[in-house]
Symmetry: C2
Subunit: 443 residues, 2 copies
Amino acid sequence: MTEKSTETKVAEAESAALKLAQLSDDERSAALNAIADAIIERSDEILEANERDVSEAEELLAAGEYSQALVDRLELSPSKLDSIAEMVRSVAAQDDPLGETQTARELDEDLELYKCTVPIGVIGTIFESRPDALVQIAALGLKSGNAVILKGGSEASHSNRVLFEIIREATSEMPDGWSQLIEARADVDALLDMDDAIDLLMPRGSSAFVEYIQDNTSIAVLGHTEGICHVYVDDAADLSMAADIAYDAKVQYPAVCNAVETLLVHESVAAEFLPKIAERYVDANVEMRGDEASRAIVDMEQAESDDWATEYGDLVVAVKVVDSLGEAIDHITTYGSKHTESIVTEDAERASRFMRSLDSASVFHNASTRFSDGYRFGLGAEVGISTGKIHARGPVGLEGLTTYQYYLEGDGQVVGTYAGADAKSFTHEDFDGSWTPGSLSDR
Amino acid sequence: MTEKSTETKVAEAESAALKLAQLSDDERSAALNAIADAIIERSDEILEANERDVSEAEELLAAGEYSQALVDRLELSPSKLDSIAEMVRSVAAQDDPLGETQTARELDEDLELYKCTVPIGVIGTIFESRPDALVQIAALGLKSGNAVILKGGSEASHSNRVLFEIIREATSEMPDGWSQLIEARADVDALLDMDDAIDLLMPRGSSAFVEYIQDNTSIAVLGHTEGICHVYVDDAADLSMAADIAYDAKVQYPAVCNAVETLLVHESVAAEFLPKIAERYVDANVEMRGDEASRAIVDMEQAESDDWATEYGDLVVAVKVVDSLGEAIDHITTYGSKHTESIVTEDAERASRFMRSLDSASVFHNASTRFSDGYRFGLGAEVGISTGKIHARGPVGLEGLTTYQYYLEGDGQVVGTYAGADAKSFTHEDFDGSWTPGSLSDR
């Protein structure tokens, strides 16, 4: 097989996208279940290819160029393949995100406007070196009727090639070319210029990488740069609750973007709260880095100004004593990344002020920042967490992979009728109903 | 008054945006009505400044560097000011686009997630030389709780300065700096780099200008590039209806983006339809440019390949005979700009195939393309028409100037409870309700 150019692959995806949009949910979901079956049936092939990736990674590990954690993440097993197949089936079982009539409006008699959800089109995705990421993204793309360009990490290239081939063969009923694999970094740069053909880019990876993508394309980008999340312990907080939340938000899974990075504590409760949380953090090996006021209460490292703007992704937390709710809000506005912030307080008024004053995607009252997640939010499968404000923000589910289209059903109406001296008026009346292709509703 | 730098203006807007988000609809609407009053009260000032713009433009007109149409567009009058004030009042009277709870979901007992509409933040706008454009954009921005950076056409600079000053003074109750005027083209380029402070850019103007903006910023851009709209006359069309629609779509207002540019006609009705529409087009001075098959039926200019991809914005229409619905779809997919397309047919099945096969923002059945408009769609005031697929598409109303935020109300829940061996399950049950700031609902 001669390798196709990236341009050819994207053109194929573009043409497949238009056909994919016309398939029913049953058809798309059946193809997803066929992928799940094929992953189980052909697991020997997958594991064999994965072994090659893992042994190459282990050589790099031996040479000190790779970490054990990365090798672990790369490695597949029969039980991991079972759970990947299960994940694909659960995507198939989700509600159809397409064809939902969001608005049905009579503009005039027998002139009906429908706003309906449709796929976005062609989505370019660039993701990390977990072989399950390729399957997950392809599954979410197919469920939402989008053609996908897949670029995985090079460390998983053998696994990715086999998985891609299995998906391709299992979805032979789907429009040809709906998914495309690209492998070279240069091909990613080629994607960035294809703003006529690609409708959305979804990069996953480091902040620096996501920013590089944003800075080098005019295509819309859905992704998250940093997760600098805050917990603010108000002077009206239940301090035992505050300690539980601050502990969970840091310790339960420190490597993820919704973990807390900076703890802000009102000065009037700092002397009581800080020793309480410090004891628990010390037990969990959390390193605290504080400002002068915090260090006067509990012995800890000194926080430098960089600390307020750092996503540690580790068992480290910055601590600052603030003199007011207002100072907490200002601090978050200055250093935050608009991801997730939480206030702990028994005072509803103060909670409201905190929540309405911050423009982060998720703002919580008396709950851990770690709840900021598609599964916990009940969105079903999660595409990612967006720190942008446009299109989709916060945890993004299948809905974030859709857009809408306006369908207008008439019986020959022209605008001239509604203009000039004898202009007819519009009725503009919303009604319950959904678009029946090609015909006016029988209301 | 020393002129502030663009950076300072944007920083002021950023800080004002956070405060603006906390005001009530009544407060924002009262400020809008104050703007309307001030425009009437201070109309002499406005007209005086406008006279300077107009006389400068007339000098350019005399020198042949300006068209009469542009001078007309620039010119204000007492009655035009009345209608501008009326427009501002109608924006004030619209439903509040903010604070709408789109989803209320119980995640678990006393753990409630609310998805609510909020302003986007800071919106950079660049618009054409109509002084009413400044007022319209400022009004839509304020109603939707957004801070706006306003850059109007330099030909209207005297009018814009006075109008801006009037708006600023009339909205002294609003957060200081919520609207900002910039005047130099170099300042526009400065905006393009401020992706940390500006959340959305809305350029209006030529396609080339909108593309320039898209290509030179990593900020999200909402705008429309081209309006290459199509009417397809199917072989199952009512030909008299088809002629009415094709006539209205071209002639009723040829300069706008939702006018038809290419007429596609099924070969089996071309011999009957083309002479019928040609007669009406000739009466209205519409120039027809056709392919060979069309010219064999009606005498017209020959269409070159460029014609299929041209937005004439004038009394010119390209005409092509197609052998099937499929060829019409392919033609639109190749040459269209994803704006608005219409099929005329009595066959619901064929209408459905046309509408579902095209990924244009608006696809119509038996109605003129000219209906593609915020007012006609019943969206209230129109921000513009977007040809992108992300965030907002087609005619965009106030809703397009909003995004959403997730509010989570808990009573101390931590994620650790829902993880591991004894993990508690989420309930994930949607309920009717809206966010009451800072407190759990009494369900």
